[in-house]
């Protein structure tokens, strides 16, 4: 029996990475998008996203990949994944109109036996609500992580597949394709699979919230959260991969979307969700850690301070700025002059009238009173504390993600503030170093 052709509709971050992985596993792959410009870019080898290993994976498997803006080209596919983005508003509410439209377009041109799989993040009940033959309609949980998307797509931990009737075997084409990846396949009801995706994210948020809560306490009682984390990871009940790095609240949009979905379903069903509300509250509180530190440590005493900001993307190794803590911070710094640098994102994304874009991180530090490292790009780790001390006018570095070596920063004569540890000051109150 020949291998099924696999289609992906929606050349999003999720769609491109998933398609590249399918091709990488040997499947003939059709990449479809309704936007001909997107397809033209992909054909020419230009990627609008940043993802380590993706250009290489696409190039290596180019012979197995067809890019097209014609939905009719999906007719030869045995399995077609819907991989569009589902946009959210400021409250994390999904706008499903785009994905519904795409499903209509794709379904109209499918082969008679083809399987349609919803790969996007949709609320429970969405898949069953579609007016499509249920024996050919599936939902599959995606666990994309920006910056690690290729690794996650090529080597998934398991496949979670939502079905109309989980007791029945998966269609041969879908079973054959998924089996190539060599991991467990977990069929379950549509609603269970849709909620499984949300459940995974809620567990991750729980870990992050624990880390953020106890990191803040560490800052205030003289503990260092980074010393505690290894002890937790060696506990088998917690595990080495646990999300225990403190951060500036939730960002990126997907986790926030799932929390909003749970809250909305709770409102409609009366289930108790105090815990989820606490996650949201904690995230909001931690997001403003840098703003509070800036005001307390610098701006209260120096109203004319010039602020250097390193990083605009919402996390390292991505171009995405959705819900970026850096942009959220910059929005609150309108009265001050800024010098900004990001290895990928243009300074214009800052949307600040007094933000000077800088080509290098060190250039952004030149003459500033305080330097804030808002995205932990690997290249920032190469910055030398003594170089920063010479470049800066002021003496304060705020480095929430601990990109720099705090002790080296203090040794260079600078004050250092990071998540999970008391302030490192060169002199004065509560010196940590």
């Amino acid at each position: 029996m020949s291998k099924p052709v696999i289609g992906f509709a929606g050349m999003t971050h999720l769609g491109i990475n998933s398609a590249a992985a399918a091709a990488g596993q040997g499947a003939e792959t059709v990449c479809f998008d309704t936007d001909a410009t997107v397809i033209a870019q992909l054909k020419s080898g230009k990627l609008s996203i940043v993802e380590p290993g993706l250009p290489e994976l696409l190039e290596q498997n180019n012979s197995r990949i067809t890019y097209t803006a014609e939905s009719g080209d999906l007719k030869r596919c045995g399995v077609v994944y819907i991989s569009a983005d589902v946009p959210t508003d400021d409250q994390g509410q999904s706008d499903l109109s785009g994905i519904r439209s795409l499903i209509d377009t794709v379904a109209a041109g499918l082969g008679r036996a083809a399987i349609l799989v919803i790969l996007c993040q949709v609320p429970p009940g969405f898949t069953r609500s579609l007016s499509l033959p249920k024996e050919r309609l599936y939902y599959q949980v995606e666990t994309l992580i920006f910056g690690r998307a290729v690794e996650r797509a090529m080597y998934p931990e398991r496949f979670i597949v939502g079905c109309a009737e989980p007791g029945r075997s998966l269609p041969q084409a879908l079973q054959d394709f998924l089996s190539v990846f060599g991991c467990s396949i977990l069929p379950m009801r549509y609603e269970s699979a849709e909620l499984a995706k949300i459940s995974i994210n809620c567990c991750l948020v729980a870990s992050v919230t624990v880390a953020n809560t106890l990191a803040e306490l560490s800052e205030r009682i003289g503990a260092d959260w980074s010393e505690i984390v290894p002890a937790l990871k060696l506990d088998k009940r917690i595990g080495p991969q646990a999300y225990l790095s403190p951060g500036l609240g939730l960002a990126g949009g997907n986790l926030e979307r799932d929390l909003a979905t749970v809250l909305r379903f709770s409102e409609a069903t009366g289930s108790e969700v105090g815990l989820i509300e606490s996650f949201v509250k904690s995230s909001r509180h931690r997001r403003d850690w840098v703003l509070r530190t800036l005001h307390t440590e610098v701006l209260a005493a120096n109203p004319q301070a010039v602020i250097g900001v390193l990083g605009l993307a919402y996390k390292e190794n991505t171009h995405s700025t959705k819900n970026s803590p850096s942009l959220a911070l910059i929005a609150q710094l309108k009265p001050w002059r800024l010098r900004v640098h990001d290895p990928v994102v243009q300074a214009s994304a800052a949307g600040h009238p007094e933000a000077a874009g800088c080509v290098t991180a060190l250039e952004a530090a030149q003459g500033v009173d305080v330097l804030v490292i808002m995205t932990p790009w690997p290249s920032f780790r190469d910055l030398k504390a003594d170089q920063l001390a010479r470049a800066m006018t002021g003496r304060t570095i705020i480095d929430p993600y601990r990109v720099l070596d705090g002790k080296a920063v203090v040794a260079a004569g600078l004050n250092y503030f990071t998540l999970g540890a008391p302030p490192f000051r060169t002199a004065g109150r509560g010196t940590h170093a």
Partner: protein, 290 residues
Amino acid sequence: MLDHLNVRPAKPTRVVIIGAGGFVGGAIRKQLDADGVTTLPLSRQELDLLADGSSAKLKGLLRATDSVVMVSAIAPAKTVSMLMQNLKMAETVCAALADREIAHLVYISSDAVYVDDANPVTERSACAPSTIHGMMHAARELMLKSSTEAPVAMLRPTLIYGAADPHNGYGPNRFRRQAAKGEPIAIFGEGEERRDHVLVDDVANITASVLAHRSAGALNVVTGVSTSFHDIAQIIAKQYGVQVASQPRPGPRAHLLHRFFDITDCHKAFPTFHYTPLAEGLERARTASS
């Protein structure tokens, strides 16, 4: 959180201050005068909110372009009778506002409206007062908000100190007066309770900014720094050269041991404003009262 209807600050046409003769109202008036803002200060002499006909009198004074600051209160409200008197005063203002269009209303409320275990308190903390004083302010907030179509700002200051404070409650004001008389400053037990204390000048400053921005919503008027009564006593003792003496508590320890605030909303609403540090504020109060 506050929303500024005036993105750029603009002088209000006129500010009517109800309660201008009091500690906080007087400071607000002084600040607005210094800013060159036209005011109509109303103390109890000009407008007794508990007197018959006061609602009609207030209505007659108000213009559609007025900003109104309601700061008048019998505080702290400790008894049911005081609660009802305060509500009656608010009812008078509400009746006037219901019949008169105004441009903006600012109510000086209190952090007592918040639930006791809200640490750190933010503007989104639950309003669930545990005291009559807190319930009084929570009720007045709702009464006033439902009586006008104008944008309304609720300012919720914490413990206010300053040279002209009339209450002499346990804390900076009483400590300063004890020290000024050369007496040891008396703290209860170890004085370990940590609270936030705000200088009355800062309350006035924030109020003026809220008026200039025609802001709507809620804002806590708090410094974000909580200090123990012991440490406050030590600062004042040093200023006056007196001792601090520990005394047994007159009763059980207060139900609220510590209270902390997260002032992120203030940083966002007024980025260039920063509160007077406690030691500096206490020194200002000492200078002003000497």
